[in-house]
Amino acid sequence: MDISIDFDKCCGAGQCVLAAPEVFDQRDEDGVVVLLDDNPPAGQTENVVQAAAACPAAVIQVRV
């Protein structure tokens, strides 16, 4: 799985963390996304795809 993130566009909504808490986290203050694992195991695919779909700013791109 290949995840790319446009950090500048992130609005800190945290939807990605709700969908895939093992892969994404947020910075304390502004909530900008932090990628915890840039090549997560296959078991996380569904969650990561869900995170990308739920992200309101279209910040996360996933290629499976």
Partner: protein
């Protein structure tokens, strides 16, 4: 066990913005291979509105950055894409949409995702120097209008008004914000946090007139020259931004039999009957938990509802499941990041549980009848998320010090 109902073979989505995009992407992701038509009034590919009053207005982003998906991603969805022409009528018996160019689009299932449009002050439509902020064109026009550093009066202290005021004063304009609430964003934040926001706006040089309505925009030779307040005072201005809320785009459904009130009236699963579903700002649905009709104008809601409608269409009305979100919205003003989970409206108690108003970094819980109805964070994004579960569960707001 009865067989699942046959999936519709033709799905049409009207409204090519956040919610509409989320529906069509959701359908393809769930494996829908039938025909899919996306009809949009705007000529643009789907773009994101929240940056209009933030990065676009301030000039940090150009218009290209607003695009939600690239051309290739849209092409990969295999849509019949009809942009630049609104749907003007609907016949739910023949299941046909009439588009402004006169053509008909047939469907088995239809999603209404036509959003809302900015409310205007009566009689100001053609007055130069009067702006609203809803579309890309609106934002570009306002940005151009602000380039001459006008005296700007912002009418309305909600999200759009407060954000635009912050940006405009950053651009060197002389800004007065007029709001009928007691505090800026008072509807969303209540008095205590609203007061904090007022202080921050003041420090940046924005004047705030609160608790007063604007009666009319004054003009001089077809140009805005100021506003008259309900208390009789007048404020001079070279430009006026009207940010007094939005109206659901439902006129095209007149006579179709689709129930319309404050938006498209849906059941708990976002179904409005006779093959019609709704998603996004335009959808008013029955909240299964509270029994109240909810219509939410938040960006994340548009995405979540779109995905929910996609799933429910494929499941069929009989097997559709209720849409039951924890609402989430954010606002950026100066160096404040404000985030809200749940619904603050109707709260009878506000308790700061982390940080402080003095430090301008806090989490506050909002309670209604002793139960948590919302959590608001200022510059504490990560900590705030921890309170979402409490809002979701409407957990008791305990008395005594929570800090």
């Amino acid at each position: 066990m009865s067989a699942a109902p046959a999936a519709p073979s033709r799905i049409a989505v009207v409204g090519a913005s956040a919610a509409g995009l989320s529906v069509v992407e959701g359908l393809r992701r769930e494996g829908y291979t039938g025909s899919l038509t996306l009809i949009g009034e705007e000529a643009h590919l789907p773009y994101d509105r929240p940056p209009l009053s933030k990065q676009l207005l301030s000039g940090t982003w150009d218009t290209d950055r607003l695009r939600l998906r690239g051309k290739d991603d849209i092409a990969a969805l295999g849509l019949e894409l009809r942009l630049g022409s609104p749907a003007v009528a609907l016949d739910t018996r023949t299941r046909e949409i009439t588009v402004a160019d006169g053509s008909l689009v047939g469907y088995d299932a239809l999603v209404v995702a036509t959003g809302t449009r900015a409310r205007r002050l009566p009689g100001t439509e053609s007055v130069r120097g009067v702006h609203v902020l809803r579309t890309l064109e609106d934002a570009v026009a306002l940005r151009e209008g602000l380039a001459t550093r006008p005296r700007l009066v912002v009418v309305g202290g909600g999200f759009v008004g407060a954000e635009a005021a912050a940006v405009a004063c950053g651009l060197g304009c002389e800004v007065t914000l007029v709001t009928d609430t007691a505090q800026p964003m008072g509807d969303a934040l209540g008095d205590e946090l609203g007061a904090l926001l007022r202080t921050v706006h003041h420090e940046h040089g924005v004047r705030i007139d609160s608790g007063v309505l604007v009666d009319e925009v004054l003009t001089d030779g077809g140009r805005a020259s100021g506003v008259r307040l309900a208390d009789g005072r007048t404020l001079a201005a070279d430009a006026v931004l009207v940010g007094i809320g939005a109206r659901p785009n439902t006129e095209w459904l007149t006579g179709s039999g689709v129930p319309v009130g404050n938006g498209v009236e849906c059941d708990a699963t976002l179904y409005a009957g006779s093959g019609v579903w709704a998603a996004g700002d335009v959808a008013c649905w029955l909240n299964a938990r509270t029994g109240e009709p909810w219509r939410i104008e938040h960006r994340t809601n548009a995405a979540e509802q779109g995905l929910a409608v996609a799933r429910n269409i494929l499941a069929g009305p009989e097997r559709a499941t209720p849409f039951d979100p924890v609402p989430y919205v954010w606002s950026d003003q100066y160096d404040l990041k404000i985030q809200i989970y749940g619904r603050t409206r109707g709260a009878d108690e506000v308790r700061v549980v982390e940080g402080s108003t003095a430090g301008r970094k806090l989490v506050a819980l909002y309670g209604r009848n002793g139960r948590t109805c919302a959590a608001v964070g200022i510059n504490m994004a990560r900590a705030l998320r921890g309170y979402r579960a409490q809002v979701a569960a409407a957990a008791p707001l305990l008395t005594g010090s929570a800090a």
